[in-house]
């Protein structure tokens, strides 16, 4: 029945680009027009004489286009999303509701901003308490932005001391943003091995310490899900050397109410609100990467800072002469910050503790169910996540990529793959605390099925996924053909894909 295909575009294009619906006159949206719409003559030379190049599409078409696009996307609300180190937990709906309230507030509108600042000051206190740190800056817009901010603080501390230390030690399990952030902050990085047991040993750190070392940047629990058991010793070594301990708090979800970075000897850390504190990831942001420091480093934090004369208003102050300066135009991703506050007070101290305990329980349960069927590169006990490899399946030619893609057909998002880099063919699995037992079991069953298929019918796995909106996507072709806008498509068009 070839006729069907000719009218059903699904064989060629699932959802045509919006621009293909565009025809002059189709958009009929009417706008508020309080003013006589005339542009003064003196502006004419500055104006674009041509039509603005946007698609001209009716509201119903736009709505359907994006509705259909949304339906081609997988989110946490559809099923388990065990993306290691990303903490894809359930995003409480009440947080979304409350954040909506500030939508119409302009940041120069003093009176409502007082309420906002009061709430933000409370968030600072909560994060300080949770992390055991002395001071907090909420403005970094994501984890990497927090890293940069924190490392600029460290840099500034040395500059103020008159020391010029240029090296940051980074374990080989670190996330790519760590070295990248250090580079922007003007440091060079030195990669150090995390050791055979999957955690950094104090002896290793000691061996790398010299007067050029400004800091060590450590993730705890690290990206193998392993607690850095020697962190306190490491902190002492660093401090004795005049260096700082920076902690990447991306994995804080393992230890809320259980162990605090401040107590570990951490001088500076960032947390990821869009991981640990349940704010949605939004398909790639906005997030929140607050930075916390011990009192010694407080004066270097970014401006503005929230100040509060008791019984008076909360206001912003820029009068911190030692500050590294501003890191973001305003107050960071304010509505994300608000969601994090709601999350924290919705749960309270017991709830946060239960979250972490359960995150660890869930990960260990999954590990227990999977460890006999997949290669487990480290025997050390893990907390909220764990890493498997494709070593065994490789024998049948099945890679981590194949298994990740196969998982999709069972209705799961795959784990983080090929990271951390120290593990070849890594699958980094972080279920989070909000996965029910039934979903963990379904996931484990799927993994075991895939392992069995890898052993018995390996060929079929290369063709996965089959039940997704599109089948395996050609990333190489994307990089080679490099079509990044619809104009490029039009200009290179062979007629095959655009219409």
């Amino acid at each position: 029945m070839p006729a069907r295909e000719s009218i059903d575009h699904s064989l060629e294009i699932l959802e045509p680009l919006l621009i293909t619906h565009s025809r002059p006159g189709r958009n009929k949206h009417i706008l508020p027009d309080p003013f006589k719409p005339c542009v003064p003559d003196e502006l004419l030379p500055f104006m674009n004489p041509e039509e603005v190049r946007l698609p001209d599409v009716a509201e119903v078409e736009t709505v359907r286009h994006f509705t259909r696009l949304a339906r081609m996307n997988f989110g946490v609300d559809q099923g388990m999303y065990p993306l290691g180190s990303c903490t894809m937990k359930y995003n409480p709906k009440i947080c979304e509701n409350i954040a909506e309230r500030i939508r119409n507030i302009h940041s120069s509108d003093k009176h409502p901003m007082h309420m906002v600042l009061r709430a933000l000051a409370a968030l600072q206190r909560y994060l300080e308490e949770i992390c055991g740190m002395d001071a907090c800056c909420l403005w970094p817009a994501a984890g990497a932005h927090g890293e940069l901010t924190g490392m600029l603080v460290v840099k500034k501390a040395f500059q103020t001391r008159g020391e010029d230390r240029s090296v940051v030690l980074i374990p080989d399990t670190a996330h790519g943003t760590n070295p990248a952030s250090c580079a922007i902050a003007g440091f060079t990085t030195r990669n150090i091995p995390s050791g055979p047991r999957g955690f950094l040993e104090a002896a290793t750190v000691k061996a790398h310490l010299d007067k050029d070392v400004a800091a060590l940047m450590i993730t705890n629990p690290n990206t193998l899900g392993i607690f850095e058991q020697e962190i306190h010793e490491i902190a002492e070594l660093l401090h004795a050397n005049g260096s700082y301990l920076y902690m990447d708090g991306a994995n804080l979800n393992a230890i809320l109410g259980i162990s605090r970075p401040g107590d570990m000897g951490v001088d500076c850390l960032h947390v990821n609100l869009h991981k640990t504190f349940g704010t949605p990831h939004g398909g790639g942001g906005p997030g929140g990467g607050p930075v916390l420091v011990q009192s010694e480093l407080e004066r270097f934090l970014p401006i503005p800072r929230i100040v509060h004369v008791p019984r008076e208003l909360f206001t912003l102050s820029y009068s911190f002469p030692d500050s590294i300066g501003m890191v973001q135009s305003t107050l960071g991703n304010v509505s994300v910050l608000l969601k994090a506050i709601v999350y924290i007070i919705r749960l309270g101290p017991k709830g946060l503790l239960e979250a972490s305990r359960t995150a660890v329980l869930n990960a260990n349960y999954l590990k227990a169910r999977l460890k006999d069927h997949f290669d487990l590169p480290y025997a050390t006990p893990t907390l909220h996540e764990f890493v498997l490899t494709d070593k065994r399946q490789k024998e049948q030619g099945i890679s981590t990529m194949d298994m990740a893609k196969a998982l999709m057909d069972f209705g799961f998002h795959p784990p983080t793959v090929y990271f951390p880099l120290v593990v070849s063919g890594a699958m980094m699995i972080e279920p989070t605390e909000t996965e029910p037992l039934s979903e963990l079991d379904r996931f484990a069953d799927a993994m075991l099925t895939i392992a069995e298929e890898a052993a018995q019918y390996p060929q079929a796995l290369h063709d996965k996924p089959e039940l997704t909106p599109v089948t395996r996507v050609d990333e190489v072709y994307a990089a080679r053909s490099l079509c990044l806008t619809w104009d490029m498509l039009e200009s290179k068009d062979d007629g095959a894909v655009s219409k």
Binding site: P34, L69, H106
Partner: protein, 432 residues
């Protein structure tokens, strides 16, 4: 309270499967001295209704505040779709087979941003306009052997502050080009004097005062610098003004909050960067490309990953990872909803309104500080007491700028958009 779905039996079964007696054993690797012994001192748990009762500020309805964050009409459609769970509860689209929704939306965002700015390519977003400018400066450093970054002093002061923070440790000098106190435009002599082959030049247009810079003239000078970029702080201006790309810059960066993202007490914002083919591989941030699936169907995926931190680590074009994806999707929705005439109409309302209101203000005896042509913002002088009195009455007459520009005593930046009603300006004028 927690969002943990387990009952006691579930936990028991799990412990048995793991092969331990007590959940405590799971934490054995955490040294005892690093354990927290008391409960965290934070409030809660709170039920939803008590959370809903937390007092909320009432925003001022009469508002002429702009200065980098603008109140614009947002079609109802934008929220209806951006709030789809599939969009907001997903991660960065690393797995394209189940992320076509986010990917195609961002591809369309890129397409529209590139078309609006007149540039070859756009990335998938940056944190905000300020970091976008900073990233552009870092890109210039990677691209050329520059010693200085020049920025006009009439560029958003918050952008310049962040730029300074980012450049502090690069060894590159930051210099500001003053503005002409009469016109509010860049001072041409200074521009000529400072400009040079060892410098990257950045110019915001319309500038922070709302003034339109003499772009043709600037472009001529700019060609002599190693790299130059145009900064856009009010994206709606792209709906009416000549496309910045037409002046031939190396990049166009800035803030696109105006595209479908509410002021939100300051954020999230939407940084963007558009650049040329030449600089494509130096560009920071995510990029979505068109490709095909194994059955030959059109599909999208993240591409050019070799620029990024997860591959290149310390040599990456940027450290950015999580960006402002949902804000970019909102921008795509907004631009789709507005269409070509809509965006132009909004820009026209802004311009027309600002000029009409300034005229009325002049009639009551206040003169604008600058005489240059302007878009939808202008600077007047208003003493602080008067301004505070207005604010206490729920009228925000503008954003005070003396802190940033001490030479403009009592300077007030007034922004007008299509959201200002007739009642608004009557109210403003009567109380001025």
């Amino acid at each position: 309270m927690s969002f943990v779905p387990h009952d006691q039996a579930d936990r028991q079964h799990m412990l048995e499967t793991i092969g331990i007696q007590d959940e405590e054993e799971l934490f054995a690797t955490i040294p005892q001295n690093l354990r927290l012994t008391q409960r965290l001192k934070i409030p809660g748990p709170l039920d939803e209704e008590n959370i809903r009762r937390i007092p909320q500020g009432q925003f001022s309805h009469v508002c002429f505040a702009g200065g980098g964050i603008y109140r614009h009409h947002i079609p109802a459609m934008v929220d209806a779709l951006a709030n789809r769970q599939e969009f907001y509860t997903s991660y960065t689209p690393y797995q394209p087979e189940i992320s076509q929704g986010v990917l195609q939306s961002i591809f369309e965002f890129q397409s529209m941003m590139a078309a609006l700015t007149g540039m070859y390519v756009s990335n998938a977003s940056l944190y905000d306009g300020a970091t976008a400018l900073a990233e552009a400066a870092l890109m210039a450093i990677r691209a050329k052997q520059i010693k200085r970054v020049l920025v006009t002093r009439a560029t958003n002061p918050r952008f310049r502050s962040v730029l300074k923070t980012y450049l502090d440790n690069t060894g590159v000098k930051l210099q500001e080009i003053p503005f002409d106190m009469a016109s509010g435009q860049v001072e041409r002599f200074s521009l000529e004097r400072l400009n040079g082959e060892d410098a990257a030049l950045f110019v915001q247009n319309p500038n922070f005062f709302g003034i339109l810079e003499p772009m043709d003239c600037i472009a001529k000078f700019a060609r002599q610098s190693a790299f130059w970029g145009i900064v856009v702080s009010e994206a709606v201006s792209l709906g009416l003004l000549k496309r910045p790309g037409d002046y031939g810059p190396d990049c166009v960066v800035g803030e696109a909050q105006s595209f479908g993202n509410p002021p939100n007490a300051g954020g999230p914002l939407l940084g963007f960067m558009c650049t040329t083919k030449e600089h494509l591989r130096r560009m920071p941030g995510r990029v979505v490309g068109l490709t095909k699936d194994s059955r030959g169907r059109q599909a999208f995926c993240l591409t050019l990953a070799t620029r990024e931190q997860h591959i290149r680590r310390e040599k990456a074009t940027s450290n950015i990872c999580t960006n402002e994806g949902l804000c970019a999707i909102r921008a795509a929705l907004y631009l789709a909803a507005m269409g070509p005439r809509g965006l132009r109409a909004v820009a026209t309302q802004c311009v027309a309104g600002a000029h009409q209101i300034l005229q009325l203000i002049q009639q009551v005896g206040r003169q604008p500080v600058f005489k240059g042509p302007f878009f939808h913002e202008f600077v007047v002088q208003l003493d602080a007491d008067k301004r505070k009195a207005l604010e206490d009455d729920g009228i925000i007459p503008g954003v005070p700028i003396e802190y940033y520009y001490p030479e403009i005593k009592n300077g007030l930046l007034v922004a007008v958009t299509e959201m200002n009603t007739r009642e608004d300006w009557k109210c403003l004028l009567e109380n001025l």
